[in-house]
């Protein structure tokens, strides 16, 4: 069996050789850091590395542009459900957010601003879809192979491809038989005109509650297919007043103070959402009051009221979802889907609901029991195989046997109550420390000790057992077997403390 690297070894050289008009094999540079993915994680890491004087960084991006999540999720109504002042990097504040919860377009603009303002584009190689990573133990070098056969080499590698980057389709019989138009929320078709169309939206998660209010005014008829209702909290979204922006620009400390306040506010919510505490019931009461205030019909309330503890699945934020469902041209369908047919969706009450277009707001394929591409470490060990029963890492960022491999949003780093970027900043700073250590000690690699990783995971799983995520509901946080490889069981502050120091005692230092 040939490895991904072996397969690719000749192809890129040939390509380069042809380009240069010579038959001499081209020696590939070993970059100091290779990064997979040019979203917030990849660009943020590159930015901080650069600020730290580490400039030999290459970012491999599979798409034709940077932006990650916010490049892909452009469906109508797409927005972040964390306030923009907290969903941005503390080291690159934006005083000009137009709303308290900005839309995807504005967030993408911020990503582009980061790339331009910090001159990161020079590091980005677009249209490079990484299909495998392999570690050369002797040389202490990682190779990233792309779909076109190119090979990029780096001393350290950062997997920043994002945990929610591959659209997921539900397992429904006949899904390929539908003759009408289909759209996935993360691959929106902006050419398709929904005006006057009969539209189905499958799913009622975080994307759906944003899409539905945006599509109802356009569609002739919109039917929402719900399997499990989620808890919905009101979203205090408002336009930022001009004076506010001026203040942030003139007194940056005021924006930092607002960010801190938002941070602490979200931290306090953890008490209700992450663990089952008296506050959990309070947060549920707020969500129930929101439902009861916006929905008057008892049967619909019943359909929309979750049966699981708040926090067990992702908490939704919307003030316009419930009103949209009650519009005359909108209908909530809670019957199980039996199959998709040529003309629509057949539900278990025996009726075929016919549509011009089906929107799949069904989320993503989450790699919580595998990797998005093969990753081979020391002695050819394969990470996906090691993770097939659930992913595990040390402090969410390193895996034993995979020296100098770092991950943003690796196993057990997911927040349920605070900004992902807050967690990401801690990860980025940790990566920085690791790369600095290689330089300072002039060593080949850092490899976390397996017993340290095992001890860390025992502790994490013990703490997870007490959280709401592990309280019995099915969610994308858990593997099929119910193993939680996704979430971090604690406050963002605890996570930051976990990531604050890189203890060399935890690592094997591999010298050249």
């Amino acid at each position: 069996m040939t490895t991904v690297v072996e397969k690719a070894k000749t192809a890129p050289r040939k390509r380069k050789a042809t380009r240069q008009g010579t038959s001499e094999p081209v020696k590939q540079d070993v970059h100091e850091v290779l990064i997979v993915g040019a979203g917030f994680g990849g660009l943020g890491t590159a930015l901080r590395l650069q600020q730290d004087g580490i400039r030999d960084v290459v970012i491999l991006e599979r798409a034709a542009d940077i932006g990650g999540t916010w490049r892909d999720n452009t469906y109508p109504g797409a927005a972040c459900d964390i306030p923009s002042n907290l969903y941005s990097f503390s080291f690159a504040p934006n005083p000009d957010w137009s709303r308290s919860f900005s839309g995807s377009g504005e967030i993408l603009k911020y990503v582009h601003y980061l790339a331009d303002r910090f001159n990161l584009r020079r590091m980005v190689r677009l249209n490079r879809n990484v299909t495998g990573l392999e570690y050369d133990e002797a040389a202490g070098v990682w190779s990233a192979v792309t779909a076109s056969g190119e090979v990029f080499r780096g001393r350290s590698v950062v997997m920043a491809q994002g945990p929610l980057s591959n659209p997921g389709l539900p397992k429904i019989a006949g899904i390929d038989s539908f003759k009408g138009h289909t759209v996935h929320s993360a691959q929106w078709d902006h050419e398709y005109d929904f005006t006057g169309k009969r539209v189905a939206v499958i799913g009622t998660g975080a994307s759906a509650v944003q899409i539905i209010p945006a599509l109802v005014p356009q569609a002739a008829k919109l039917k929402v297919f719900q399997r499990t209702p989620g808890w919905v909290l009101p979203k205090p979204d408002f336009a930022t007043p001009g004076w506010n922006r001026t203040l942030f620009r003139k007194v940056p400390a005021s924006q930092a103070a607002v960010r801190k306040a938002l941070y602490l506010g979200h931290e306090s919510v953890a008490l209700g959402i992450v663990w089952n505490s008296p506050l959990t019931r309070v947060v549920e009461k707020v969500a129930e009051a929101h439902l009861n205030r916006q929905v008057k019909d008892p049967w619909m309330r019943r359909q929309l009221k979750p049966d699981f503890r708040i926090g067990c699945k992702r908490v939704l934020m919307s003030s316009d979802y419930y009103p949209a469902l009650q519009q005359d041209n909108c209908e909530l369908v809670t019957w199980p889907i039996a199959r998709i047919s040529e003309q629509g969706i057949r539900t278990a009450e025996g009726i075929e609901h016919q549509f011009d277009c089906i929107v799949f707001a069904t989320g993503f394929d989450v790699s919580n029991a595998g990797t998005p591409f093969p990753v081979r470490g020391v002695g050819g060990r394969e990470l996906g195989q090691e993770w097939h029963r659930g992913a595990q890492a040390y402090k969410s960022i390193n895996v034993s046997g995979y020296p100098n491999l770092h991950m943003t949003f690796g196993p057990n780093s997911g927040p349920g109550h605070n900004s992902a970027l807050v967690y990401m900043e801690s990860q980025i700073e940790y990566i920085l420390k690791a790369v600095r250590v290689l330089r300072a000690l002039e060593i080949k690699a850092l490899d976390v000790k397996s017993h340290i990783q095992a001890r860390h995971n025992r502790e994490i799983q013990k703490r997870l057992a007490k959280t709401n995520w592990n309280s019995g509901c099915k969610s994308w946080y858990l593997t099929e077997d119910g193993f939680n490889a996704t979430m971090y069981p604690g406050f963002a502050t605890q996570y930051a403390r976990q990531m604050a120091s890189l203890d060399l005692k935890d690592y094997a230092l591999i010298r050249a």
Binding site: W335, A338, Q343, A348, G350, I351
Partner: protein
């Protein structure tokens, strides 16, 4: 009774889904309904269609109480399947010229009161009560009525439709009795204490006041249609026979209560019938509008194959 593997049952349920569009509602045979049969059949089908909803609403409440995800999903399917049966029965009525436009059949007042009770209180009832009473309604009303229907009606499409409905119902009953036995596990004194606690619940007493006259009313309707009431009793006895065939089943206090009640129902000379028949008469004076607004899920009922 061999216990059922609920995961396999769920897969079987998913694999056995059918839709109204699978049936040719224009197939020949609609004229086999005689003019004498027609009015009786119309009343009969109206009752049947609403009885499906007693089961439907019961399963909806049971889905909320289910102790496992699998059972919850099974009950969610059963809820939908009961609605499918109602939709298919309406499509038959439409075929036989018994429904105009989007008109819905009128439920009798006792059915209306039972559905109203289920809508208001069933979500507050423990699984023990619903899991034991719904099988009785399914086996006695649904099961018995379907049998009568197939004996009386010659339209081949009717037989085709009810073959599908019966297929679903056999799975419902399989799960029903499995759950009844499941509910009979545990210490007897604990089961008894829990039962006594529920019996005293005023919401349950209201439920009994809806349920008891419903059975007698249905008996009267069956007799009015020229059918033998013994057939209903045979079906009710089946509940006792199947439900009580294992130790666990017999230990379920609600099974005992419901079968004892069933014995009174089938004994026409039992004094039980004096107050209950009086209740049937009394409830017949309740105007439909006094029951309260029709729940909005009714809007989802349709004889149309597509929507």
């Amino acid at each position: 009774m061999a216990t059922i593997d609920l995961d396999k049952m769920l897969e079987k349920i998913k694999d056995s889904q059918w839709a109204l569009a699978d049936i040719d509602w224009e197939a020949p045979g609609a004229d086999k309904i005689s003019p004498e049969q027609w009015p009786k059949l119309k009343a009969f089908m109206s009752d049947l269609m609403w009885i499906e909803h007693v089961g439907a609403r019961g399963f909806a409440a049971m889905a909320k109480k289910a102790p496992t995800d699998t059972l919850r999903e099974i009950y969610t399917y059963f809820h939908a399947e009961e609605q499918r049966h109602a939709n298919a029965e309406m499509a038959l009525m439409r075929r036989w010229g018994m429904l105009e436009g989007d008109e819905l059949p009128e439920p009798n007042i006792n059915l209306r009161l039972t559905i109203e009770w289920l809508d208001r209180y069933s979500d507050d009832m423990p699984l023990e009560v619903l899991g034991s009473v719904i099988p009785m309604l399914e086996i006695a009303l649904d099961g018995a009525l379907l049998k009568f229907l197939l004996e009386e009606v010659d339209d081949p499409l009717c037989h085709e439709v009810f073959a599908k409905i019966n297929g679903d119902e056999s799975r419902h009953l399989g799960v029903d009795f499995h759950v009844m036995e499941m509910l009979g596990r545990g210490k007897l004194h604990q089961l008894a204490v829990k039962t006594i606690g529920t019996v005293a619940n005023p919401k349950l007493i209201l439920g009994v006041l809806a349920y008891a006259p419903l059975l007698n009313k249905m008996r009267d309707n069956i007799v009015a249609m020229g059918l033998k009431e013994e057939r209903l009793y045979d079906a009710m006895n089946k509940y006792e026979r199947i439900g009580g065939r294992t130790e666990e089943g017999r230990r379920n206090p609600w099974f005992q209560i419901i079968s004892q009640h069933g014995k009174m129902v089938v004994n026409r000379s039992h004094p039980y019938h004096v107050p209950v028949d009086a209740l049937v008469k009394l409830t017949s004076f309740i105007p439909n509008r006094a029951v309260g607004p029709v729940p909005t899920w009714v809007k989802g009922l349709t004889w149309r194959t597509t929507a």
